[in-house]
Subunit: 362 residues, 2 copies
């Protein structure tokens, strides 16, 4: 750890104030998390879609890859979300507008039994994660339960929460997290709003960081729109202790991003991302493609997560496998154009640290 | 002018790299623009709703108030906007959902004749402005016509354009503007998107500044979410040459903001602003009140600017006059909480400059 890593570095024992954003479903990779942690940042892995057994294996694999600190991330369920259990008729009704896509890709609508079988049990996930003992656990979408924070503290595991508004940051600090990620609306992927509707929780990174820094005393990690050294220098000037970078690391060689996703990240459409509920039932930022444009009129009508997510998963996977960018969720933050593209994650991290140093001095 | 004012300072002859945002309708004041210019920044006045004669008088008044540079701002009409001329039946249909508000405030629906009489003629406005010869003219909502840029150059008047995306910034530079304001989605008031729909042009300030700075060679003025010295330091780190601050100056003593508006800016709701078309037919950022919440379901259904604007003007004015915040357009950016409140504009400007110096050094 070095002085340059600031308060987050001291808390976690990392050299640079840079956290790799924890992508979920298929975008994370052990190689990426290991490369970032070995480079002196905090590598992360989004375990949200993993079973408890897979989480145990994941942490073992990460520990085998690096002796340095890393984070594993989970989604906290929103109130009532775990009770949504649509029957076959309800699923068929929700799937009606998707039938042309199922047909085109040779798929059938998942049954209620299949959807229920794929259901995630947050309690079991978090128990497996605590037992596996990663150095850091991070959460999005809500406040981790008291018992989780207490147990993490007992085990010496640091807990990071994620806020999209000042009120969420204050609530997370009160709940006892060790650090808060302030995730501005510039960020890619799912929005983690949990106290108010997403529409009233879309605060730009530039505005959010100083207000969160003023409101909490734990270290603040700025997220959303940061992909080069200028962004790190600016985030620190706004009062952040560190930064979290998602899209920039998603573009590196080690990430789990597909070839079509990588192409989209470096293309011109990445300059004008949009927020959409269409892929999962929860608002997320991505690069608009044909599916998002064709279905735009139904944005407010699709069922909530995890129902829409279950309906879309077969479409996303099949389209991804066939290299068809027009039906894939092309998650991206608003600064993809500033990323370095398909370089190694270690090289990208080194260039970030060097760039930040230059711009801090400048 | 001083070295600290950077490229924009050199271009315009101002001491500090700080532009006061040009609010429109009733929020601008000569006293505010004069105070900012006398303090070494660039004071601005939004003349969008003024007649050509009133613009001539305005520039004379500003010139009498200060020998320093100042800007007068106009809206460029969107394609087709000047041809919208609804008849009485159409107005009545659009006004239907507003009837309870008209009734409550003792108003009647404006006639087609009244709406047409209040129509603004951009060509006549801009001719009056050019003839009056302010040091700087700034535009929002589009690219000023070629003849305007040529005539401004002939007269030694600097022209500033406003972009909400990288593509808009590039288009403005090609058209010949002398500087570009990069207005991130954190900014308050109307969004100025003109090349793509607003929904695909909402780029956070943090993401927008470095991408615009990379794309154009004219000076870049960062706008949206900046209200203290940290914000200035961060904007310069991201590659901006200067900043534009709206909400922070709106809160100062000299602005035209009403008492209810000032109260809202310093209240807790200012932390979660929303985008709404309800007040004018064009998307704008403000603090949500009862009107915005009650009418939320009709966001996409209200007629375009200037029709909705004409229908809402009587409601906004009457509610403002009666001190009823629940029906007023409470424009605000996302960093109102960082502003200094009702101090003098000169004092606020001095604190901004001092704060930026500290954070640049830090």
């Amino acid at each position: 750890m070095s002085a340059a890593a600031g308060r987050l570095g001291e808390l976690l024992g990392i050299d640079h104030p840079v956290v790799q954003g924890p992508f979920g479903g298929g975008l994370s990779s052990v190689a990426l998390a290991v490369a970032v942690s070995e480079g002196g940042g905090l590598g992360s892995y989004g375990a949200h879609i993993l079973s408890p057994e897979a989480i145990t294996d994941l942490v073992a694999e990460l520990k085998a890859g690096t002796q340095r600190p890393f984070a594993v991330n989970l989604w906290v369920p929103l109130d009532g979300e775990e009770d949504l259990r649509p029957d076959d008729a309800e699923l068929a009704r929700h799937a009606e507008r998707l039938l042309p896509y199922y047909a085109e890709l040779g798929l059938s609508v998942p049954s209620a039994e299949e959807v229920d079988g794929a259901r995630l049990d947050f309690g079991a996930q978090v128990d497996a994660l605590l037992a596996a003992g990663p150095p850091v656990i991070s959460f999005v979408m809500g406040i981790p339960p008291r018992r989780v924070i207490d147990e993490a503290r007992r085990r010496g595991t640091a807990v990071i929460g994620t806020a999209t508004t000042v009120d969420e940051a204050v609530a997370l600090e009160r709940a006892g997290v060790d650090a808060v990620v302030a995730s501005g609306s510039d960020a890619g992927g799912h929005r983690g709003a949990f106290l108010r509707p997403v529409r009233e929780s879309l605060v730009g990174t530039f505005s959010l960081i100083p207000q969160v820094a003023d409101a909490v005393s734990v270290p603040v990690v700025a997220a959303g729109g940061i992909a080069d050294g200028r962004g790190i220098a600016a985030a620190l000037a706004l009062g952040a202790d560190a930064v979290q970078i998602g899209t920039g690391f998603l573009a590196t060689r080690e990430s789990g991003a597909s070839a079509v996703h990588r192409r989209a990240l470096s293309g011109p459409d990445a300059r004008t991302t949009v927020l959409t509920r269409l892929f999962s039932g929860r608002t997320a930022r991505g690069i608009p493609n044909r599916f998002v444009r064709d279905m735009a009129a139904y944005e407010d009508e699709v069922p909530p997560y995890p129902v829409q997510n279950a309906l879309m998963q077969p479409i996303r996977r099949a389209a991804g496998g066939q290299g068809r960018a027009e039906y894939v969720n092309l998650w991206s933050g608003q600064a993809a154009a500033l990323a370095r593209g398909s370089v190694g994650a270690g090289e990208y991290l080194a260039s970030l640290v060097e760039g930040a140093r230059e711009h801090r001095a400048g």
